[in-house]
Symmetry: C2
């Protein structure tokens, strides 16, 4: 299971199996989306498969995830998502009513994200060879001139900004899957980020790097960027927004919110001179109301992420090995 | 299972569930690939999921299918396939060696088809919730100026051409799955069709419609075009190339080769004045050596496909309801 968790084991599979077999120069960059040149245009192209259990959860469904997961990969590459493909793998015996509810959710999410589903495919596998519904989406979008978001542009001095509360999606899934109650219902943050990215790029096109911290959470996202940038990252633990309900649930479940998946948040690496203006623009947008500066990029400990704790100490924030919460997207 | 078979039940699912939920104007055209406008370019965009059993079969593997299935959907829309995405859903416990062999086959097929895999994703599901490996690919390509392939352009008088022997892929899968032997090994025709389409377009850009007859076979492809064109199709049964080994296997298995899937063939609807030149160009290409004119488009019986039998009679070639051979791609 760990090989699908978005952590070190996933990275190993890509680097040892997939990249040697079929990876070219673009795949080796390993961005959230591929930045391509086609007919003189700069395109972003990205794909994700969705195997979440259960299919419906507080705040969304596999249909919402299938849109927002791919749309957000395009958004954090700086592209305006334009078109989606959609492949369904249905398990024999799944209720048509369930398929319809998922399709309706997917359609509503696409309209909310301003993207059109233009091509699709359906396969059916025998009962016991699937799990109700799996969905794959791929998306394409145009990258505006002057936008160049990639971890290699991240340099010491850059400010690290997170767009809001972390850990919400993973805990929402776990609470419904395990039948746990934490006093208040924890609702997934699953949402499209294109509008927020537009607002940030309106401040300056010179953002260095964006990432949506999904599988592996904020910890995996920060580690991937630190490794690719060859720089260190220092964050102030108490500045990372964690809702009390999420903190409580994580304490009960034995989880660290830094490693829990998000589906409607991004982390940005921004030149220091633009940081305050970018945070202001984010806070003026509904998806960034709780945006916060959480740290900075440093010359020390390249490739490593360090958290300053509330008590004045420091701890290393490791790359997760596998996934503490399987099948949350 | 029938809803995934590419026949009438699949069409029902798309028309009653998916199109109302998330279909826009492009999806409603229901082509093999979507023809899009983006930044002033004409793009084709297509997706397919692959759930074939077994993963390896005579003439190919799920990795070859994953490339050629999507590349051919682009080719028959007239586009030059440029980039592929690739999403793997792995079942917990699948051997890394198996994943590596599939990935290697996928890489070799991509190189043979002249397409680059640029973005990917991997998910893992628990043992018993998958079937080794499922793959989704999506592909994008440019449509050259002057190329406009769609069933609405098909008119009475058009000549129907098939690029070679039909029924081979489905029978190859069934023979290995059921452990049947038919004297000679039947090898899948899984292959990329971009080069053949290029050769045809070099004769004239005024081809009306191409389709790759995969699930549902030649019968489903002809019926779909007849319905969308609002015209009738008449074929001469004895002109349809069926290899003796496929005919024998179909007799044993109780199948009609017209309904068996192909993975390296196309059917073309071509204006009469270009038909002979197009067939000559196809026969000069390795993937079209057995190209044959098999029939024509007529004003009579709009939406219906009729075969003239060797005995001088006629029979209706129905749209298949479901899939006689599940999970052949």
């Amino acid at each position: 299971m760990g090989h699908g968790g978005g952590g070190a084991l996933s990275a190993e599979l890509v680097q040892n199996v997939f990249a040697p077999a079929f990876g070219g120069e673009v795949l080796h960059r390993l961005g959230d989306a591929a930045a391509l040149s086609l007919g003189g245009l700069r395109l972003a192209f990205s794909t994700d498969s969705f195997v979440v259990r259960p299919l419906f959860f507080p705040g969304g469904s596999i249909g919402d995830l299938a849109v927002n997961g791919t749309v957000n990969d395009l958004a954090v590459s700086g592209a305006r998502a334009a078109y989606l493909s959609c492949g369904f793998i249905l398990e024999e015996g799944v209720e048509i009513d369930t398929v319809t509810r998922v399709a309706d959710a997917l359609g509503a999410a696409a309209r909310a994200a301003g993207v059109e589903v233009v091509t699709g495919d359906t396969k059916v596998v025998e009962a016991g060879h699937g799990d109700g519904i799996y969905i794959n989406t791929a998306g394409i979008g145009l990258i505006p001139a002057g936008v160049d978001l990639r971890p290699q542009r991240v340099v010491p001095g850059d400010v690290v900004i997170v767009s809001g509360a972390i850990g919400v999606h993973g805990v929402a899934i776990m609470s419904v899957r395990e039948g746990l109650e934490f006093g208040v219902e924890i609702v997934s943050d699953c949402a499209p980020l294109g509008g927020l990215v537009d607002a940030m790029l309106a401040v300056t096109r010179d953002l260095h790097m964006l990432r949506d911290p999904t599988r592996g959470g904020l910890a995996a996202a920060l580690n991937e960027v630190a490794a690719a940038a060859g720089a260190g990252v220092v964050i102030e633990e108490r500045k990372v927004p964690v809702p009390p309900a999420v903190a409580n649930a994580c304490a009960v479940l034995g989880l660290d919110p830094m490693y829990v998946a998000n589906e409607g948040k991004l982390v940005a690496f921004v030149p220091r001179q633009h940081a305050d203006a970018v945070v202001d623009a984010m806070r003026a947008h509904p998806r960034g109301a709780e945006a916060a500066i959480i740290g900075e990029v440093v010359r020390d400990h390249p490739g490593m992420v360090v958290a300053r704790t509330g008590l004045g100490g420091t701890r290393v924030v490791d790359m997760p090995l596998g996934e503490q919460l399987p099948r949350i997207c």
